[in-house]
């Protein structure tokens, strides 16, 4: 009896230990890059100083959906955070939290960021939006910036990059390099942003090679390397010889490398991961926007709204174009780039029809941002149907 009681205690003890280990295992890594700069004697100081201290650096926090080491989306955001901090010198102190899932836990993270005294908070994935909106309603003195979102508030504004411009350039490369005239796209989650990228990729490819067709495979995840590998492999099996992706890791590129096919990098420069397969990388540079956002707060010029920057503002670029790409194709990329910069070239200009023959844009009709934000159809040249899209 006593013995069994003792073993029960021992069991309880170990369970507590196990639970503690579990908590330690799943707690997120939080990193404040310059804690030393923050005043340590906070309670005394805040009691004495109700007047704002003029010289105190602005505290800015970032929430990422994945880890900064993904070599893609989150990596690009974190590089921009670092570049922004460098450019603004001592005027700003940044911190970030990785792996903030698109769920209720995000609200806790954003409240925590506010509680730590951050005056500008960035949420960098679509699913952070609703939680930011909630926290923003309770923290009127803090400004919120939501990437890829659409809902705004007085102290919450949204920003995005015209990733579809990069997708179009990726399409130009793919269309010019394909031999089988079959291109493959590993799609992440079927939302308008991603569908727009698949369409723009196809339009880009058609601009140099009208015969191409695009096959799409969805993994319903932003970053799941084995699944991305499976999807990429199945596209290659189906005859695709140039792959494009809207997922966060370099798995697709590596699968193409292994199979002796081509692929285009996404979000960050991925050339190192597949030197033979890599045709170029469509990259996002968030730095100009992050510098602007922080300056807006510092200069008290921040106001809510929507920002959508692309090649023109230096937010999107096609980099590390491979030597295998012929000169005329490279020249074509340069033409697209300069056209996008000076506004002489528009990607989404009619005639554009869906892949089941319905006209969406009449000849010479230019799509506005509202149209672009609601795309849920495939253009001609893409095979299949959008999951949950237009059924008619």
């Amino acid at each position: 009896m006593i013995d069994s009681k003792r073993s029960m205690f021992r069991l309880a003890g170990w369970s507590v230990l196990a639970a503690a280990a579990a908590l330690a295992g799943c707690s997120k890594k939080e990193d404040t890059t310059s804690t030393a700069a923050a005043p340590a004697s906070a309670p005394a100081a805040s009691a004495a100083a109700s007047a704002p201290a003029a010289k105190e650096p602005l505290k800015v926090a970032f929430a990422y959906i994945g880890s900064v080491g993904d070599g893609g989306w989150n990596f690009a955001h974190d590089n921009a955070r670092k570049a922004m901090e460098k450019e603004l010198g001592g005027k700003v102190v940044t911190s970030f939290v990785e792996k903030v899932a698109e769920g209720p836990d995000a609200e806790r993270v954003f409240r925590d960021m506010v509680g730590q005294g951050n005056k500008l908070v960035f949420g960098t994935t679509f699913g952070h939006g609703d939680y930011m909106l909630k926290v923003a309603a309770d923290s009127k003195d803090v400004k919120f910036e939501h990437a890829t979102g659409y809902k705004t508030a007085d102290n919450l504004r949204v920003y995005d990059s015209r990733t579809y411009e990069g997708a179009y350039m990726a399409g130009v490369l793919a269309g010019g390099m394909t031999k089988s005239n079959t291109l493959g796209v590993v799609g992440s989650v079927p939302i308008p942003e991603v569908i727009r990228n698949i369409n723009s990729f196809t339009l880009g490819a058609q601009s140099v090679n009208p015969k191409i067709k695009t096959k799409v495979v969805w993994v319903n995840s932003w970053g799941d390397p084995p699944k991305e590998t499976d999807a990429a492999q199945s596209l290659i099996n189906a005859g695709a010889d140039v792959l494009f992706q809207n997922t966060d890791t370099s798995a697709v590129l590596q699968t193409a490398e292994k199979a002796g096919k081509y692929a285009v990098g996404w979000d960050s420069d991925m050339s190192a991961y597949g030197p033979k397969a890599h045709l170029g990388s469509s990259v996002i540079n968030w730095t100009p926007y992050y510098v602007k956002a922080v300056n807006d707060v510092l200069n008290n010029t921040w106001s809510t709204g929507k920002t959508w920057w692309g090649v023109k503002e230096g937010a999107i670029d096609m980099v590390s174009i491979s030597d295998k790409v012929p000169a005329e194709l490279k020249a074509k990329i340069d033409t697209v780039k300069s056209g996008l910069k000076d506004g002489s070239f528009v990607i989404w200009k009619g005639p554009i029809a869906t892949n089941d023959g319905k006209e969406k844009l009449k000849k010479d009709e230019v799509a506005n941002d509202e149209f672009l934000g609601g795309i849920n159809f495939y253009v001609k040249g893409v095979e299949g149907k959008v999951p949950g899209g237009d059924k008619k």
């Binding site: 013995d3 073993s7 021992r10 069991l11 170990w14 369970s15 196990a18 639970a19 280990a21 579990a22 330690a24 295992g25 799943c26 707690s27 890594k29 994945g66 880890s67 080491g69 993904d70 070599g71 792996k99 493959g184 079927p190 096959k215 799409v216 495979v217 969805w218 993994v219 319903n220 995840s221 970053g223 799941d224 390397p225 084995p226 699944k227 991305e228 590998t229 499976d230 999807a231 492999q233 199945s234 596209l235 099996n237 189906a238 695709a240 890791t249 370099s250 798995a251 590596q254 699968t255 490398e257 292994k258 190192a272 991961y273 095979e383 299949g384 149907k385 999951p387 949950g388």
Partner: protein, 306 residues
């Protein structure tokens, strides 16, 4: 025709990861220990294997490192549950969470690394047979090792003396103890063997399957392997079948998507899970059969002398 061959090839490759992990867990469970830490072990082994491959340039040393890391973690788990009699489920979950966090921490500096060029394997002669060659004989050697392992394990469990002892320990540790077998040591060995195989599965993911390291890249395969072991009623051949079934339906659904089949992709993504469970439940639907195969002392601690 060619597409079918490639689909079969991809299926064998995809099933191999699950086969190794699930066969490992089968050894654990036949000895009466449930290790819910499989996912964590696979993650740590994946980063250990990848790091070793980066530094040594040898895939085989990387597999050994993955197996070593897996066995080591499993030994720690084994010590907790076998000698300290902690709750197997709680300890396993803790190991899983620990593995996820620890692998992410260790792996930070490897996220930007890449491996040297991958070698294409093929069996000379056989690989050139039309259809059969591309379907079966252009695989990584470990794909064949997994099949051999399932066969060897069947023989071991049902034909060898050591296998009988292992099963006895899982069925009735008291009886095995009374006969003079070192129950705890046998259980520890089984747990370590299981950990090593989970480790091999983890290293296969990061070195062969998707040659890169990304935090959390095992993406639930450890949990699927655990479920496979149960649904396959602890029989090696069925575990292998389940693994290929899961891999096959995964590849098939991507293939169907690529062909533009009008089924919501979300449903197709769920298909491998559904199909595997349904098929294995159907072939194992006999309750008496499940009882006969399920190790009677599964999950129960054994304290000698009580």
């Amino acid at each position: 025709m060619e597409a079918t061959a490639l689909l079969i090839a991809a299926t064998l490759n995809a099933g191999t990861v699950l086969a190794f992990a699930a066969l490992g867990l089968l050894i654990n469970e036949r000895a009466g220990i449930v290790n819910l830490g499989a996912e964590g072990i696979m993650l740590v082994a994946a980063v250990a294997g990848f790091a070793t491959a980066v530094h040594t340039g040898s895939d085989w040393v990387a597999f050994a490192a993955g197996m070593g890391a897996g066995a080591l973690l499993a030994a720690a788990f084994g010590w907790l549950v076998i000698w300290l009699n902690t709750n197997q489920y709680a300890s396993g979950l803790a190991l899983s969470l620990f593995g996820a966090g620890f692998s992410a921490f260790v792996g930070i500096r490897y996220t930007q690394e890449k491996l040297s060029e991958r070698v294409h394997f093929q069996i000379p002669g056989l690989a050139d047979i039309p259809f059969i060659g591309p379907a079966f004989f252009r695989q990584h050697p470990l794909v064949y090792v997994a099949i051999a392992l399932a066969a060897a394990l069947t023989w071991f469990l049902y034909r060898s003396r050591a296998g009988f002892v292992l099963r006895a320990v899982g069925e009735s540790p008291e009886s095995a103890h009374a006969l003079g077998y070192p129950v705890r040591r046998i259980r520890l060995l089984a747990v370590m063997a299981g950990g090593a195989l989970c480790g091999l599965a983890g290293a296969y993911i990061s070195v062969v399957y998707t040659p890169l390291w990304v935090e959390g890249m095992v993406a639930g395969k450890g949990w699927i392997a655990l479920a496979l072991t149960t649904f396959a009623t602890w029989r090696p051949a069925r575990v292998l079948l389940g693994a290929y079934l899961f891999g096959g339906v995964t590849m098939l659904q991507f293939h169907l998507q690529g062909e533009g089949v009008d089924v919501p992709s979300q449903l197709l993504t769920a298909l491998p899970y559904l199909a595997t469970i349904v098929v294995l439940v159907l072939i194992s639907r006999n309750a008496a059969w499940i009882r006969a195969n399920m190790p009677a002392s599964l999950g129960k601690p054994f304290v000698p002398g009580t």
